[in-house]
């Protein structure tokens, strides 16, 4: 056990022990531990195996900046052990291992590493071609991390929005100062930090200085007392989007935040040095060692060497020393002596310092799972190691503090310009978008006092942006500049294994190879080597990769620039991205009645519509056939409330319709309806419907089910554009509609209405307002299904009453669904816009020339139609039939029409007609195939070719007599059917 005695400010709760398993063995940690800290405290040093070579790996960053320790817990895959809170009952296993961590069968890959350099797979697996499936399987098996459980239940992930005046990302000293500055001024602040507690480096980088801990305690109290600040710990800002919108991700959900201003105080990420065997368990970033000590009271190692090039390394040495670690030496890459309180304290502790030196390699323990010593060399003037000056220093761990990379991904995404500051060896913001501010170490500010002031300065700027009261903070003179990052913490070694990217097992040599192959820009290098493309997204590797490339090319880092930063800066669980699904469904007011009647529903756009009404013991086809025959023989009732329903009134109402529809409406009499087709500017059919004239300046019209919203929107635009004096009201949802159709429909309607319904009082295509079942309704005498029919429109809240009354009026009334309606209208040859037409179909192709009133002064699409008329059409919509005796497979919609082996068209509608007792359909074919009597081939499922005959539509009642029937005719027809 390496758990330390209680440490002030530790995050663990020693009174709450947690039992868990790792690789089948029981362990115990405390509440507040992460998986890694609990394992490390239990003496476990190998936490995972590397992705490519299966090398043993331990703690590197302990900060979500690497994935050395990636574990699975049942159905939860890819848990980052460094930052995942320990929970009782966890049964953890590493994800990239064949066997156990101690006995990983894939460890042999490390022996063959020199045969598997970067990019080898670009050249290796594509020949011979027949071998590729084998390679693919092998690579998938080797590279898969974890095993997905396809039976895992679907989780419910909330999808949340939040809003604030100032979003502060990063709760280190500068972020906390910024939040306090803005919050105290009255702004609504959200302070977000990826760690379980706020405080940033104040919670772990201490040395002998008591100030950080005292400052943290004081600021914590201040923030808790400031009601305007909402703290969101254990939450990371994953991406920046337009208008200062951010995706904040925690363990359970994603929160979409819209901020009026944002302060990015995301700090920096400590970077590893590259030397041979720098990836062994025990070699870790100094900040990782400090986090183990101060947050989790875990001794990171017993005997340490500290590799450093900055003040932070000396502070870390003091932290290690205070934790009982034997610090054998500090290896300082710099030539100049460190001048700081920490350096003086180090001297007082008697810790030796080797200046202008590097670690040449870490020497592996006999079991190959740890470090037993390091070899230290002096550095030459060109930063190369002087191998003649080797000294071996025993240790079981190395703490690296050689530099930092700014966590500036969000700033990049926000469009910030970056400048590489050679003085501090860091990219710093050099131009930020409005409302976006940076503070603290991401801004290049390292001194603690200055970081606090920088946070206050950013808060003042944010308040000024928000036009809220603010006051200029007291900005003291900046301290003497110091460089926290060493320019080239990379040590070449003839035997390699000096890792740069721990996710992808990339070594220094791999970058040289990539450059030799010509991939020598930052973007190309990334893609060839895959540096930064692992789960860590380059957090611990991109900066060193850039330093290596700059050194190879002899260019400055600023010249090379960085790769593009895109959301997300951390991987986000797919369940979070899916969130709660909002899939709006529209239901007519008759929905519940359809359900009770056994309707089987289908989706029609956003609507749910009855496809047919199930009948006990009958198939779908039999049920639909009965519905069709009921309409043809007696009466059917269908819910057509999904149709778009729009009313337009005013002096220019008629003018609007004249312009947006191809037909003529000036001469439409009050109380009559007319079929109407709408085109776009290109002359393509976009919608159709029926226009009823209710008054001289008042029209009511229908649109297709899917077109209602877009038609309404277009009409609103046209009214404004043309400055017409009329008002338009969308009644699609407010009005229900049902169609009573069939030879007995008039007789049945007469039972529940006093409206005059005979042919003279209410002729075919008439429109009337009257009372049906006690409800004032609009009734249109239209015949979409080819029978005498009455389309009844009425307020939605009364629709159920009228529907039930009509069904109860006569036992012959049969409810019918969309499928029967499709068959009925097909028998009649009526087209459905969007099914028998597509996004290119013109009225000339769809046999709708008759609706084009080209002598009108204008309608939308008119000029295009004029141009089309001068050219031959490419397709024509025709009817076709199969012989009545045909009994083979039926073609389906979208089956292809084939002529001489080439595609010559497609089936748009097809069905077996119960009335005509043969297969009928509509097809879009080449014009020369359209002559009635022509035969053409249809390729159906399985490649079978069927022969169909082109015929003129309609197939049923071509003269339209049934729709126009007088009462006497109807009664006669009905009696004859009864006899038949």
């Amino acid at each position: 056990m390496t758990r330390l005695a209680p440490i002030a400010g530790e995050w663990i709760d020693r009174s709450h022990a947690i039992d868990f398993e790792f690789e089948g063995r029981p362990y115990r940690g405390f509440a507040g531990d992460t998986i890694t800290s609990a394992l490390w405290a239990s003496g476990v040093r190998v936490l995972g195996r590397s992705f490519k070579y299966h090398r043993p790996r331990g703690v590197l960053s302990l900060a979500n900046h690497d994935v050395n320790a990636l574990v699975a817990d049942g159905r939860s895959l890819h848990l980052r052990a460094d930052v995942t809170a320990l929970a009782a009952g966890m049964r953890l296993s590493p994800v990239n291992v064949f066997g156990t961590l101690a006995r990983d069968r894939a460890h042999l890959l490390d022996r063959f590493a020199r045969f598997l350099p970067v990019g080898f797979y670009y050249k290796a697996f594509f020949k011979p071609k027949w071998m590729f499936p084998h390679w693919e399987r092998a690579i998938r098996k080797l590279s898969g991390l974890g095993k997905l459980d396809f039976d895992a239940p679907r989780g419910r992930t909330p999808n949340r929005h939040a809003f604030c005046d100032v979003l502060v990302i990063g709760a280190g000293p500068s972020g906390m100062a910024a939040a306090l500055g803005a919050g105290r001024a009255g702004a609504r602040v959200i302070l977000v930090d990826e760690n379980a507690r706020i405080g940033g480096s104040l919670s772990y980088a201490r040395g002998t200085d008591a100030r950080p801990r005292e400052l943290l305690e004081r600021m914590n109290l201040d923030i808790a007392a400031c009601t305007g600040i909402r703290v969101m710990p254990a939450t990371f800002a994953a991406g920046y989007y337009a208008d200062r919108s951010f995706a904040l991700v925690d363990q359970d959900k994603m929160v979409k935040v819209r901020a009026r201003s944002v302060i990015v105080a995301t700090g920096v990420m400590e970077q590893p040095a590259a030397f041979r065997h720098n990836d062994l368990p025990g070699v870790m970033l100094a900040s990782a060692a400090q986090r183990l000590i101060h947050r989790y009271a875990v001794q990171p190692m017993q005997s340490a060497v500290v590799l450093t090039a900055n003040t932070e390394g000396y502070v870390a040495a003091l932290d290690l020393h205070a934790a009982g670690v034997q610090v054998n030496t500090i290896v300082d890459l710099r030539a100049d002596a460190e001048e700081s309180d920490a350096a003086r304290a180090v001297s007082e502790q008697g810790i030796g310092i080797m200046r202008r030196s590097c670690i040449f390699e870490a020497i592996v323990t006999p079991d190959r799972f740890g470090v037993r010593a390091v070899t230290v060399c002096r550095l030459n003037t060109d930063d190369s190691p002087d191998s003649a000056s080797r000294t071996e220093v025993p240790c079981d761990g190395v703490a690296m503090s050689v530099g930092f990379a700014p966590a500036n991904g969000l700033l990049h995404q926000a469009g910030a310009r970056m400048l590489f500051d050679e003085g501090i060896q860091q990219f710093v913001p050099n131009g930020l978008p409005a409302g976006v501010f940076a503070a603290g170490r991401v801004n290049g500010v390292y001194d603690l006092t200055t970081r606090l002031r920088d946070g206050e300065r950013a808060a003042a700027q944010a308040l000024e942006h928000l036009r809220m009261p603010w006051s200029a903070p007291d900005v003291p003179a900046p301290p003497a500049p110091r460089c926290p990052s060493f320019a080239y913490p990379i040590v070449e070694h003839p035997d390699g294994k000096n890792f740069v990217d721990f996710d992808e097992d990339l070594t220094v040599r791999d970058f040289a190879r990539a450059a030799q192959e010509g991939f020598d820009s930052s973007e190309l290098l990334k893609r060839y080597t895959t540096v930064g493309m692992g789960p860590s997204q380059g957090k611990h590797s991109n900066m060193n990769a850039l330093r290596i490339l700059a050194r190879i090319r002899g260019r400055s880092i600023g010249d090379l620039g960085t790769t593009t930063a895109r959301p997300f800066i951390h991987p986000v669980p797919l369940s979070h991205l899916a969130g709660r699904g909002f899939t709006p469904v529209r239901r007519t007011p008759l929905q519940c009645l359809h359900e009770r009647a056994g309707a089987v529903f289908m989706q029609a756009g956003v609507w749910l519509r009855p496809e047919y009404y199930a009948r006990e013991g009958k198939s779908k086809t039999e049920a639909v056939t009965e519905e069709v025959l009921a309409v043809r023989r007696a009466a059917g009732l269908i819910d057509v409330g999904t149709l778009g329903k729009i009313e337009v009134s005013g002096p220019d109402a008629c003018e609007l319709l004249e312009r947006v529809y191809t037909g003529r409406f000036q001469n439409l009499k009050v109380g009559m309806t007319r079929y109407a087709v709408m085109l776009d500017e290109a002359g393509v059919i976009t919608d159709d419907g029926v226009v009823a004239r209710l008054g001289e300046q008042r029209f009511y019209f229908t649109t297709t089910t899917t077109g209602s919203a877009s038609v309404y929107r277009e009409l609103q635009r046209y009214i404004a554009q043309w400055r017409l004096d009329c008002g338009i009201v969308n009644l699609t949802g407010a009005m229900a509609a049902m169609n009573l159709a069939g030879p007995r429909s008039r007789e049945i309607l007469a039972k529940v209405s006093d409206m005059p319904l005979d042919n003279n009082a209410f002729p075919y295509l008439g429109a009337r307002e009257g009372v049906i079942a006690g409800v004032v309704a609009r009734v249109l005498r239209v015949g979409f299904v080819g029978e005498l029919g009455f389309e009844i429109h009425l307020p939605a809240e009364l629709a159920a009453h009228v529907w039930d009354t009509l069904l109860a009026a006569d036992a012959a009334v049969t409810p019918f669904g969309v499928e029967a309606q499709r068959w009925l209208r097909l028998e009649k040859g009526h087209i459905i816009i969007g099914q028998d037409t597509d996004g290119l179909t013109t009225p000339l192709e769809a046999a709708l020339e008759w609706v084009l009133k080209m002598d009108k002064p204008f309608f939308v699409g008119q000029r295009s139609v004029q141009a089309m008329r001068a050219r031959p059409i490419k397709h024509k919509l025709i009817g076709f039939v199969f012989p009545p005796a045909y009994s083979g497979p039926s073609p389906k919609e979208c089956h292809l029409v084939i002529r001489e082996g080439e595609i010559a068209g497609r089936i748009t509608s097809v069905a077996y007609s119960p009335t005509l007792k043969q297969i009928i359909g509509l097809a879009m074919v080449a014009p020369e195939m359209a002559a009635p009597g022509s035969l053409f081939k249809i390729r159906v499922d399985g490649g079978t070719m069927l022969e169909a005959e082109a015929v003129a539509a309609p197939f049923y009642d071509p003269r339209g007599e049934r729709q126009r029937m007088s009462l006497a005719q109807l009664q006669a027809r009905y009696r004859s059917q009864e006899v038949a």
């Binding site: 709006p584 007519t588 519940c592 629709a799 159920a800």
Partner: protein
């Protein structure tokens, strides 16, 4: 003849005690009346009407209806109803029982003046209230509807759970945060089911109208839509 709420079937699936209001079956109680954290109520039974057009504002004023001056704002009637100005020239009027403004306006709209166009309102009308309302709204709406975020008596025409809604904050008349929501009646069941699912997760539920109108009487039995 009975009117039917767009949410009738949603409420019928709950443990509902029915009553009647304005010729519509209403839920007197629906199970969560005592739950103060979050309640959903169906107010579709309230009488409402709409009108739009360049002459709508002056037409209303000529009938002594006090019109909100600002676009996208609302004001209350003395008897508890309200008028919401939707944009510049459209209005939604709703009576609270036993208000009579809507009936008078509806009657007058049979023969509207020039530039006044009646708008048939068949909305699903909801109320959400309780301490957890902000969380409910935050999970379903991408604009900030919380107290203080909008101008006083603002009308928000926005999207909630993917559909268009009208939202107003009526918290000032209640002890807890309270919002009115209207949507197209054909989306009503979807919105209700979505909000209720989240509300239940947040510890709330559906409540009947007795929660806000204690004088409403139960009609007995489990009224059907055609009762």
């Amino acid at each position: 003849m009975m009117r039917a709420s767009p949410l009738h079937d949603c409420l019928a699936r709950l443990d509902t005690q029915w009553g009647r209001l304005n010729d519509m079956p209403i839920a007197i109680s629906a199970g969560a009346e005592a739950n103060t954290s979050l309640q959903l109520l169906d107010l579709s039974a309230l009488r409402r009407t709409g009108l739009k057009g360049p002459g709508a504002a002056s037409w209303l004023q000529s009938r002594s209806v006090c019109v909100p001056e600002r676009a996208n704002s609302w004001s209350g009637f003395a008897d508890g109803g309200l008028i919401a100005r939707l944009g510049r020239s459209e209005f939604l009027l709703e009576d609270a029982p036993p208000g009579a403004v809507v009936s008078a306006v509806t009657d007058a709209l049979v023969a509207p003046a020039t530039g006044v166009y009646p708008v048939l309102r068949q909305d699903a009308a909801l109320m959400v209230r309780g301490e957890a309302v902000d969380e409910l709204l935050a999970q379903t709406c991408s604009i900030d509807l919380s107290a203080g975020a909008l101008e006083e008596r603002a009308v928000s025409l926005t999207m909630m759970a993917g559909i268009s809604v009208i939202v107003i904050d009526v918290s000032s008349a209640h002890a807890a945060p309270c919002y009115r929501i209207w949507c197209d009646g054909t989306y009503g069941a979807y919105l209700w089911e979505t909000l209720l699912e989240i509300a239940v997760e947040l510890g709330g539920g559906a409540a009947g109208l007795n929660a806000i109108y204690p004088d409403l009487q139960a009609s007995g039995g489990n009224a059907s839509i055609q009762s």
